[in-house]
Symmetry: C2
Subunit: 125 residues, 2 copies
DNA sequence: AGGCGATATGTTTATATTTGCATATAGAAA
DNA sequence: TTTCTATATGCAAATATAAACATATCGCCT
């Protein structure tokens, strides 16, 4: 969303971000990690998810581990070894979390729309 | 806002951030710079604003300059020299911008409240 | 003319964050 | 018991971001 055509703010956008944080003010997970977890859910593998998101396995693995440590519970159930090397599947908590996050985003987008419109009206008064 | 007492998410919070961005995806100004500009408005000086915010004058000055360059217009009218060394006062555009931003934050907070509540209900189901 | 204090800006040093490299391990199947 | 592939993790290299240092300029006032 940008300001009206011809205004000072025509090609300027209002963006937002939501994330989970702990009491120490540390970021636990934001959109990137949520997306990653969603990919794991869809692909059944951390490696496949990393590839799809265009990030290294090392990074993806570190992201998941970091989030889990800060949350204090597991999001992904990991299996290693076996014919295909291993696999990953979301825990019930992980599943609930991404479901809730998806709904949250939809509601956020709706709320943002009105707020943004008002903002650009005001700066262009 | 956190999850209900005793739940997995008791000491975990949902946070958000809003900022202005240009078409190149560059951040123009977010809460830190908005606050700085607000301080300049209140104190009439970039130096005083920097001191109040606990950042160096160099950094504060760079922040303002960067935002102005990306916006394409001035936020602050700067004067140098004179008995007191100089002063800074917001331009009408700068003033409008921080006013609009303050209102935006209030509305955002309200919207967030409901959304957050729903989110934590869902993950704790 | 000289002092004072805030604006103006280049350069450099430190710190934090991210990315990438290398390597180890598990475990089903051939 | 060898092979294959994803999970697991330490560590080094590369960037990005921020902080610090060093000067220069401007213009009212004495």
């Amino acid at each position: 969303m940008a300001g009206p055509k011809g205004s000072k703010y025509y090609d300027i956008f209002l963006k937002f971000k939501v994330w989970l944080e702990n009491t120490d003010g540390e970021s636990i997970l934001g959109d990137g990690k949520f997306e990653l977890i969603d990919c794991i859910d869809q692909l059944g593998s951390l490696k496949a998810a990393a590839d799809k998101m265009g990030i290294s396995y090392r990074k993806a693995w570190g992201n998941v581990k970091d989030a889990e440590e800060k949350l204090g519970f597991l999001l992904v159930e990991k299996h290693r070894g076996g014919q295909h090397g291993g696999s990953s599947v979301l825990t019930p908590e992980g599943k609930k979390l991404i479901e809730a996050y998806k709904e949250l985003l939809v509601e956020f987008d709706e709320a943002i729309y009105q707020i943004t419109k008002k903002f650009f009206n005001k700066v262009n008064e």
